[in-house]
């Protein structure tokens, strides 16, 4: 089973990297960019076919390691 965990910065957390990318896009002349926030994507392959178990394991992975929940939110998707 394939899954994807997406980790993003919480709103209100300053994202200097996103700001730098935003500036670069603007200087490239890419139109209409209002703001950029940088995040992370983890593509994970899971053994077994139990969706509920998989979801629980992914949540555990995100809580314990993939995200720092002080500053980040995460979203778990089974693909």
């Amino acid at each position: 089973m394939k899954a994807r965990v997406t980790v993003t910065l919480k709103s209100g957390i300053l994202d200097p990297q996103g700001k730098a990318i935003e500036g670069a896009l603007k200087s490239l002349g890419v139109d209409g960019v209002a703001s950029v926030r940088q995040g992370k994507v983890f593509d994970i392959e899971l053994a077994g076919a139990d969706r509920a178990k998989a979801e629980a394991a992914l949540k555990e992975a995100a809580d314990k390691l993939l995200a720092n929940t002080v500053i980040e939110n995460y979203r778990v998707e089974l693909l």
Partner: protein, 233 residues
Amino acid sequence: MKSAILVFPGINRERDMARALKLISGHEPAMVWHAETSLPAGTDLVVVPGGFSYGDYLRCGAIAARAPIMNAVRDYAAKGGLVLGVCNGFQILCEAGLLPGVLMRNAGLKFVCRDVHLRVERSDTPFTRGYNAGQVIRVPVAHGEGNYEADEETLKRLEGEGRVLYRYCSPEGVVDDFGNINGAAHSIAGIVNEAGNVLGMMPHPENHVEPIMGCTDGRGLFAGLVAHLDRAA
């Protein structure tokens, strides 16, 4: 003072730390590999040194914070044992949940590697008793992610409980945006946990302990720890 220095893959300041500890305490520190599950018996101080554990993969300190030895450090800290985290060590302690908050990318986006001035906010703690309250010390920093952030409530608690021990400042001791080298909230350079036995700081006091380094302002931190333990003994 018997100290134990944790060693993770990618750490590179452990020998500087060992040299400083040996010099000031007279005892050779034990080097403890991250895969160990216990600390040497009779450890007075655990040090999490600086460097780039696991290449800063995922988030600075995130992977080291989940290493086997960290469970032993957590137990040790819960019993009141002294823990000092410097630079990457501060990041690791935050990621391990031993200290609140997080170290974000420097506000100026640049890696900052130079001497900075710190104001010692109080002298009545094991980590600051080698200094006077309000004293300004000069120590080096070398980090790209030292911008301390925490939610408003946490910052209010840190301030209210006097848990900010070191703050970036001007050479005269003025805390302002100019002296705040990485954009840290409240110019925070070092904080302690609620019980006051775990300190995390971005600057490197271990690199200013001998005259050949051009400055010995970092000695006070280690000398203070030795004095604290001598008194407790």
